[in-house]
Symmetry: C3
Subunit: 127 residues, 3 copies
């Protein structure tokens, strides 16, 4: 059920972008109780002038490789599991495509389970 | 007040995309107490490598025609009305532009009525 | 911590878009207790067919210069501060790049402070 938007600066090859989506997906499965095959990941590529970020907010040194990941998820997890997700995403992205840990920004937006329809106009998580 | 983002794979003609926006708008009016003319609908077109989705999560067979609709709305409706919205959106999209029901993914993000300004720097829903 | 997405119709020069981001940033610092250097602002440029809006919802006359600003923020502010933010954003945007007040649409999405990681896989706002 996560709907994931990843924003980055235009110019990365397709393999790099595919690796980012794959790593985020793997981390969600591993750390966030996301069912296998629950994968809906969108990448937004921005012109340089449309992609502005702080190079050092909170003392973290960021580069143009920065990616901003916004995950919309159901509100069914606590703080610890969120921390595991953040760590898991970064660990995976460091391996592939090879991002610096400083260049991974993550934000969660939480919604009710009834706020999803995965097809056919049905709220599949309403029982 | 809904702010609607629709993501799809690049390559669809303008008429197809206009029909999608029109159908979502009509369904919101019909099923979700959205006032006439309250229409703010953005479409994001993604390269194929930037648009990854499960072809069968929850047993629903999806194709490259898939659209992912994320609606930010005020938190003033219950489960039943959300279910009516999902059904209404899909029914409309099947008619125009002619989507398969399986190819419609919907997600709601709910916010407080005070979280909107429709122009002039005023929070129009605060009384 | 705000993650800001700004959507506008394609065709504006880079200087116009940079001025928009700068003005939104300045207004957040001034009115919304956003720390200096906490700047993560993304602009989405849409084809005309992908950018549909009401030209007069709530009696506000909008033009193709319209921008839709969606700010994801922590849920730590009240109504008054939100109203100050809306006013501050519009005042700044009127000065630079020179937008009409009617052409500024704002929406806030609120999340828990634990829902942010600014780098390194750490939830920096969890203490």
């Amino acid at each position: 059920m996560p709907l994931v938007r990843i924003s980055l600066k235009k110019g990365k090859p397709a393999a790099w972008r595919r690796a980012i989506a794959d790593s985020v997906y793997d981390a969600m499965i591993e750390t966030f109780n996301v069912p296998k095959d629950d994968r809906f990941i969108l990448i937004h590529e921005h012109d340089g002038d449309d992609f502005t970020y702080s190079p050092d907010y909170l003392g973290i040194q960021r580069t143009d490789d920065l990616i901003l990941i916004q995950l919309t998820v159901s509100n069914t997890r606590g703080v610890e599991q969120k921390q595991q997700l953040y760590r898991g995403i970064v660990e995976r992205l460091v391996k592939a495509p090879g991002l610096r840990p400083e260049d991974v920004f993550i934000n969660l937006v939480e919604v009710l389970p009834e706020n999803w329809s995965f097809g056919n106009g049905v709220a599949q998580y309403v029982t």
